[in-house]
Symmetry: C4
Subunit: 279 residues, 4 copies
């Protein structure tokens, strides 16, 4: 009995976490399809005309997908060797959060529209399709952003301070009569302006307010250069490091192309580039 | 007869595909002029006041250009050694699609305004004018974008997921009363916001909605740094590779300017840089 | 007596300027909390409904914080060895400006909403939390921006000239009837357009005006590349310089990772990287 | 007589074109002030309330400045050794164009508001103030933009084609009923959208139109990366080339800091960096 249980658990583990076996791949493909279908169903259900005609069907589909994904989540917990670690991982949290809105909608009507959070599950597609290259690119992008997070954080902190000051300045200058009814609302305006979105739902009316707003716009326009510069420089660096990190064991030459197999100077075989880290 | 047919076909090939002969260049120049004239005609015809005065003339011009371009397309197929390959190439498809709307407009009035797709044919101008330098730049730009397409693709995929989530969140927070009448419409709002376009046709009204929108705007403002960084790094890399790829045969020095003809260290003649690939 | 005075002054100096002692850190942490609480209080007070209910409490809090910060400012002046230098430093000016609006509001109602300028004091957080790394990043960002200030300045100067010309051109083309009531207002429109904010509160109505506006938009869209390029290049350079500045004392090899302790070529111990300058 | 004439002409040349003599510098400074005063006068005159009160004064000032600048232009022509070359240079054209609108306003009322074109004359400030460093930065920026003009040109050409196609597509999809009254107007909309300005004066109403518009926005958002990448890469390259171009005459080491006076490896004196070219 114990053996049968273990073998059953083992089989499920292969299906759910495996990406090498045929069953594992098929499961993953079906899962992606189910996720997309489920997001599309929720989206369509929010359109009034479709809701009136197919509401019952879509409601059934929503519950069917939710039950399915709940089962899947429990099986994942069951077959995982370290369930807590899975539960706390990015995908573990996403998997759980992807089923909650339906249950929540029993208490809080409308909560089910948050089911589109399931779209996050689709990110799994990189792992599923075994697109090693794409996976590699995604990892590179991710690690670049991780390495720049401190600089970007410092920058965003400074931007928030600037936004607060511009917001309250405009509140004093323009005042409630011109739509700047409170500092929080003025801060909202400052965000709309500095990010160059510019809805125009609130806009300065007095000449002095327009002058301050002009300053805010030019600030927003100029400082976008900062995060862009940070990310560009980091990516350039990553490129260069990658080229330099392989060395010819014979002539010690660096700067080989990523796909080079022999030293371009002396022809000695090069060590293989390291496989991309991370899952 | 066979010989005359072959020689006729040969002559047309030289005129249509050739860029070295006088006849070939003149044909290309006339073609570009015809394309521009045709696009201008369609554009003007859409202006009500011009349509009323010169409608018949423009209608005639439209058909004239279409018949001309159809003939040209058929001749291209005829004289090409591998007609299918031409038909499936970028320019082949554009050439075909550029004549369809007129015929389509017989069934579907208004389809003829899609004739501006012909503007794409003007891209041929690079080849026509034999602007080797411009062609080279265009190729470089193109190949950079091709090399970054995977990273950009991964990024856009993530952006789409973020847009879906912000869209449905705003649908729940703001609701139909404030213009967010369905999730698809809310997703449209999220795209308008995250790309920092900000029409203002739909904008958040509740304080909580404005807070979520602020988050979306800041996200959009910050992540523009990612594609920009990707392209910048790739272009920097391309620059560097170009400098490094030529090596002095005597002292093995790299890092020569693209227009250098002799090694800047020992004066030995350098190999010529490779000609830009591609047509 | 003199000794007691000196020791008291010394103790306060440690508390206020020190970041190593327990008392100094606790003081700094309380200060940050007080700053944030004070900014939040001002912000909330500007919301009409909150003002009506808790106006008196928030008014009291405002004065309490102001008195507290005034005392702190005076103590800083007192314990500082070179009070003038502190008073003229960035933080000295911010500290003073952070208390003025409350006193000003006695004469000029509404001035107290400018108290959010206090948010600037929060920038002190980097020093307080002893986040050496973050501090380093902030310094790097700062010094990059300082090094690019001339190029950015030249660019902004040119942009201002372009904005003035587009503004007056549109005033002539569109005129007061279409919302372009004066050149200053048209310049405001040009800023809104060239920074790609686009409120839509003023927009061109005539075909010719729309053509000029299109040109302004494309200009704004294209030239954003300039400051971004400036900052990116400067950051890339900073990265590279950092790698090159350490040299192996044995084999004179450069290009070591920032965290490398031994030469990657010959294994000789490397000099330690210089500590980040600045406080 | 001839000598007196020659010496007078010489003296004027020193005053007008010279930047080394005291008189030359003073003339330039006064000129800049006059230019700024003149632009401010034109700007203020366009404000209705100021025009009514000080209209006559400002009108007089406008003519005074115009006569002054006309005289200056003629003197420049007179004292220049090659008058035609000056007349055709950037500043020569600007100097002429800066006086024309006043004379034109006699025939065409309103043309005088174009006098703000004079703002372009202020660009002379770099030369005037002898800010060699600023001048150098401006030259660097200029030469970078000149070197990237072909790539940027190819990019803008492709963007224009994309804009034409999106514009006519929206004309067909949305039609005159939703504000897309003609293809030129739809093209205007496409420019507003792709540059992410987003006035909102025309915006898609139908779901399908919104889908097409979404595509246009995402396109605009993504391709801004291209010119930015071009400029960034070019600036990085310029930085690097600058470091590499000086070589130690003893040990042939490159990669010296711009301000280095001795080789950092062997201590030999380095050749001086070349002075910035251009006037």
């Amino acid at each position: 009995m114990n053996t049968r249980y273990a073998s059953l658990r083992d089989r499920w583990r292969h299906i759910i976490f495996g990406t090498d076996t045929r069953a594992g791949r098929r499961f993953d493909q079906l899962l992606i399809l189910a996720i997309i279908a489920s997001v599309v169903a929720v989206t369509l259900d929010s359109v009034q005309s479709i809701h009136q005609r197919h509401g019952t069907l879509l409601y059934a589909a929503e519950w069917a997908f939710t039950v399915l994904f709940t089962l899947e989540y429990m099986i994942r917990l069951w077959v995982s060797d370290r369930p807590l670690r899975y539960a706390r991982s990015f995908y573990g949290v996403v998997d759980l959060v992807s089923v909650i809105p339906t249950y929540l909608s029993l208490l809080l009507p409308g909560a089910n529209y948050l089911l589109t959070i399931r779209a996050l599950r689709v990110l799994r597609v990189f792992r599923v399709l075994k697109l090693a290259q794409l996976m590699d690119e995604a990892n590179q992008l991710g690690s670049t952003l991780v390495r720049t997070r401190r600089k970007i954080g410092v920058f965003m902190f400074a931007v928030v301070v600037v936004i607060i000051i511009f917001g309250s300045l405009m509140y004093v200058v323009e005042g409630p009569a011109n739509g700047f009814t409170s500092i929080p609302r003025s801060i909202y305006w400052a965000i709309v302006t500095i990010t160059t979105v510019g809805y125009g739902d609130i806009s300065p009316q007095t000449p002095f307010g327009q002058a301050v707003a002009s300053l805010a716009m030019i600030t927003g326009y100029a400082i976008i250069a900062v995060p862009t510069g940070i990310v560009s420089a980091e990516m350039s660096r990553a490129h260069m490091v990658k080229r330099y990190e392989r060395e010819c064991p014979n002539c010690h030459r660096h700067d080989h192309d990523p796909d080079a197999r022999f030293c371009k100077q002396c022809g000695t075989g090069l060590p293989r580039p390291e496989a991309p880290q991370g899952s």
